[in-house]
Amino acid sequence: MIEAYPLLAFALLFPLGMLLACLWPMALLRMPSYLAFAPIPAFAAVLFVSDDSPLVVGPARLHLTFALDLPGALLLGVAALLWITAGAYASPYLQGRPNRGRFAVCWLTALTGCIGVFLAADMVSFYLFLAMLTLGACGLIIQHETAEAWRAGAIYIGLGLLAETLLLIAFVLLAMDIPGNGLLIGDAAAALPTSPHRDLIISLLIAGFGMKAGLVPFHVWMPRAYAAAPAPAAAVLSGAAVKASILGMIRFLPLDTALPHAGTVLAAAGLFAALYGVVIGMTQRRPKVVLAYSSVSQMGFIVAVIGMGMIAGDGRTALAAIFYSANHVLVKGALFLSVGVIAATGRRYLLPILLPVAIIAVGLGGLPLTGGALAKIVVDGPLGDGAANTVATLSAVGTTLLMLQFVRGLVTTVSTDQEATAAPSLFWPWLSTAAVSLIVPWALFLAVPEGMLPNPLAPELLWKALFPVLLGAILAAVLWRWVRRLPHIPEGDIVVVLDRCAKIAPAWGKTIEQAEGMLRQWHVAGISLLALTLALGATLLAQ
């Protein structure tokens, strides 16, 4: 096998180099056409690197460490595929639109951050690339520069930075616990169960990654951001970028050790999000928003799986969650890309495109023989047989419902020109994503040694997977037929509450400003100087 070192380095340096090349105006002009090439080295690294020997950058004092462990490799592989196809999709998509250069820069920033996070093996590089990912993603969200986009970007970056600061505290605390002076994530996770600050660190990690993963009530950024972002950007953000939080949870939380309290909290929050996303999503009309709520639901489900793993202290949960995530990466990516394709297609050619979209969409709910069904089989073990399993089934029903709602919404967005067809350069990347999303889960599933998992073609499993889908379809039909008016809930639901809070904040700010203005009067400052002198003198005297 090939040495890991140069491949890992190349995987990171290639997009970074493309990013730096953007400083040169000529390169910036052409960059949008070459976005698809940036993740190829990363994909190659996934294919060819077998061991997880780390790449260490920098002198011995404070180095950045990168390594390709199995969860990282799995996610990176599918994410790289999505980045490649979405990159190919983006270049025609951008044709003739403003801000192409900025899009390319933000795209490459987010891409570098994404690859870096998946590869990072120490906390500093993890934090660094997470920040890069956030900044790049924010740039992608505000691409269209509408008021809606700015608002979405502001909410995204605000929550993102809040999450990162929480994580930063957690990292600082973790760094203190690691024996020696290393900052490796593995050591940190190993040291966590015995740390004196264990509960605090775990709460910070859950809160931080939870915000990134869109757990209720921190999901408010998701619907707005995905709706505002251009289709290819929404695809990579909802597919690849958001998985950084899942990877973070898996890497930092000690899944091998049973931590029932934290696990219960995590599982409950995840399952609640899984249902909440469905319920709110059903009230939405715009396809991208529906997809975003589906993401809320799906991410909640994955978090729940991790939470169940923590309750049990079962280390294999990690891989199950990663498998589910990998499927979601590709499916969600394909669905977001289809939004753009359908919008460019006339009614006449609609059916050949809508059919695969519908299959993939319903696949997310667990349609047999799709990746979704496989993923459900994989996570079945960790979820166990209790209430969680019931909720999971409910979620599958709901997801089907939601996906049908999405398809229904999608149909209304077709091009007004009957004869229109999507440009080949738009069509083929979408088709390949769709194909990949059907094939890759199978490939991954088959790579698991025989006997570890039940046979997906067994009839009882087929029925178990089909039953929620059918139920969902029936429910959808009932809902559409008889329930005329679903309540309309604004996109980002509880963000409205946030808005109200935001109205109170200026009043406080004004009060502080007035107080500060008073303090800036000469005699007030003089009096405070004297008072300060006396106070400081008194404290020194008190010694």
Partner: protein, 313 residues
């Protein structure tokens, strides 16, 4: 209680009374007059504290020159509507109380001197012969803490440039606005003709004597500056335009010589600002002489204010 202590107590009471009235009196002009008196009383206090060098400096600069500046400022600001709102009584009372507490703290510190009072006086007297000087204060200023003195000259120059920087752009390089007070009164002209020769001799004497008795560059320079200002105010001479090369040269002559001798000390005496053995006194006297000139010009120009008229060639 000896006569001396009665005198001291009376002096302190007077100083405090005058000081308080400087602050409390309503009219700015009266306050400045009070302040000049305060400066003079302080210099008596300095004599009582056996610091004649400081007394001279305080009288010349602290009272005299500062008083002159303030008087000029008050005279000029009379026409404009000066003043903002007075501060309310509660705030004043609070300030008063807090000030009293600060004073109490300081007083406690002053009332509790260390058991063994540390002093550098013997050390200074022991090392003074090496410099050839007789006045220990001059020794500290020009030998032991020469770096402070050098930097302080730079401070003076910077302050002067700062004052000049307040000129309008078009007046840069022109003459300071001292002419505002200039009046060709025959009596004043008489004084300006009679006094400067005496004053110049006196200033030079002060500088010269500073090496061994109280006096020195600052005091001498101040006297020279006062004479110069007198001549200008009497209208016998115009204030020089600030762009004049000779003026700039005089301003930096002292510091430059000081610095040069300091650098030479690096070569000849093995340390920056050290004097070669045996040459210390003549070098210091030379530095003092140059500094006296520079200080005189700098103080005079500081008092003259920023340029106001463009140079007329």
């Amino acid at each position: 209680m000896s006569i001396a202590s009665v005198f001291d107590v009376a002096l302190v009471a007077l100083i405090l009374a005058i000081g308080a009235s400087t602050i409390l009196v309503r009219k700015a002009f009266a306050a400045v007059v009070m302040f000049v008196v305060y400066g003079l009383l302080l210099s008596i206090a300095w004599v009582r504290l056996h610091a004649v060098d400081v007394a001279l400096t305080e009288a010349a600069i602290g009272g005299g020159m500062t008083g002159l500046l303030l008087l000029g400022a008050v005279a000029r600001s009379r026409s404009v509507n000066v003043g903002g709102p007075w501060i309310g009584r509660p705030a004043r009372l609070a300030t008063c109380a807090l000030c009293a507490l600060v004073v109490a703290g300081l007083a406690i510190a002053m009332l509790h001197p260390p058991e063994v009072i540390p002093t550098l006086a013997p050390t200074v007297m022991e090392s003074l012969p090496q410099s050839g000087l007789g006045n220990p204060v001059a020794g500290v200023l020009f030998v032991f803490r020469a770096l402070d003195t050098l930097l302080e000259k730079v401070v003076l120059l910077l302050a002067l440039l700062g004052v000049w920087s307040l000129a309008p752009d078009r007046a840069w390089g022109g003459m300071p606005g001292l002419h505002v007070y200039a009046r060709s009164d025959p009596t004043l002209i008489f004084l300006a003709q009679l006094l400067p020769p005496v004053g110049i001799v006196f200033g030079i004497y002060m500088c010269w004597v500073g090496a061994k008795d109280p006096g020195g560059a600052f005091q001498g320079g101040t006297v020279l500056a006062a004479m110069w200002l007198l001549v200008i105010v009497a209208g016998l001479q115009k204030a020089p335009a600030i762009g004049r090369l000779w003026l700039r040269g005089l301003l930096v002559a002292g510091p430059v010589l000081f610095l040069a001798i300091g650098l030479a000390g690096w070569v000849f005496a093995d340390a920056f600002l050290a004097y070669p053995a045996g040459y210390a006194k003549p070098l210091i006297v030379a530095v003092e002489a140059a500094l006296t000139l520079s200080i005189a010009v700098a103080l005079g120009m500081l008092a003259a204010g920023p340029p106001e008229r463009a140079q007329q060639q």
